[in-house]
Symmetry: C2
Subunit: 138 residues, 2 copies
C-alpha cells in the first residue's frame, strides 16, 4: 500500500452465539491454532484469537448489550468486521471520519480499539492501535 | 496451523453495489493498491483485487443473478466471505461438506473456485484451488 493510514489488517472478526460450541470447528476441522483470548468489557464481548496461517481470525461472542449483540440479533452469526492496524486511532479517525464521534475502548491483548462510526459500502471497520515495531514483530 | 486443509486465507470479499463508485475509497482513502480484476461468469460478478498490505481484499460486484446479488438484496453491501486456499477443491469438500453438492466455477485469475454449501456459524467460506508452489510465490 502507498500512503495508507494502515500498517495492515490485524484480523477479521466472526460473530458467534456460543464460542465454546463453535471453537472446535475452527480448531479441529479448519485446523486453526489458538493464539489467545480476551474480553472487551465496553462492548460486552468475549474474544478468541485464532491463527489461520497467514492471518488472524477473531471469534466475537457477545455476553451483553453492544454492537456484536445487535449484529447477532439483526443478521445472525457470521463474518462481521475487518480490523486494521494503525499507529494512532485519533489521527486515523480524523482522516476517515472527520468530526464524528467514536468511542475508544480496550480490546484483546489490552490494545486500544475503536470502530469507525461510518460504514462505507456497509463495511464494519475496526481500528487497533499498534506501533510499527509491534506490528513488525507479529 | 496444524493438519489444516488450507494453505492460508486468499482474500476476504466485500459485496458492493457499484464497484466503480466504491473503488476510489479503497484506493485513495484506505491506500490499498490495485492488483487486478476479473469476472466469475457463473456467479455473474465482477471482481476487483486489492492489496491491503498483508492480505488481499476482493470487491465483488454482481451484474446478474447469483449468490452475491442475493446477498446484496438481503443484507445490503458489506463484508461477505472468507476465501481459503486449498490444493484440491474436491478433497476439501469431501472433508468439510461430505456428500453435499457444490458447483465449482472459474473465478479471478482463472482459478477454480467453490463456495462451501454449509455455513458453520453463518460464515460464507469460499475455496480457491492453488498449488503450494503458487501460494508460496504470492
Amino acid at each position: 500500500m502507498t500512503a495508507s493510514p494502515f500498517s495492515g489488517i490485524d484480523h477479521v472478526g466472526i460473530v458467534v452465539r456460543d464460542v465454546d460450541a463453535s471453537l472446535p470447528y475452527y480448531l479441529d476441522t479448519l485446523g486453526m491454532t489458538f493464539i489467545g483470548e480476551g474480553r472487551n468489557v465496553t462492548a460486552n464481548v468475549r474474544l478468541i484469537y485464532l491463527d489461520a496461517g497467514n492471518m488472524t481470525v477473531q471469534l466475537v461472542c457477545p455476553y451483553g448489550p453492544g454492537p456484536a449483540a445487535t449484529f447477532l440479533e439483526e443478521h445472525g452469526e457470521g463474518l462481521n468486521h475487518v480490523c486494521f492496524r494503525v499507529e494512532s486511532i485519533p489521527e486515523t479517525l480524523a482522516l476517515l471520519a472527520p468530526g464524528q464521534d467514536a468511542p475508544i475502548s480496550v480490546g484483546g491483548f489490552d490494545k486500544r480499539t475503536c470502530f469507525l462510526p461510518n460504514r462505507p459500502n456497509g463495511l464494519i471497520m475496526e481500528l487497533v492501535e499498534m506501533s510499527e515495531a509491534e506490528a513488525a514483530r507479529d
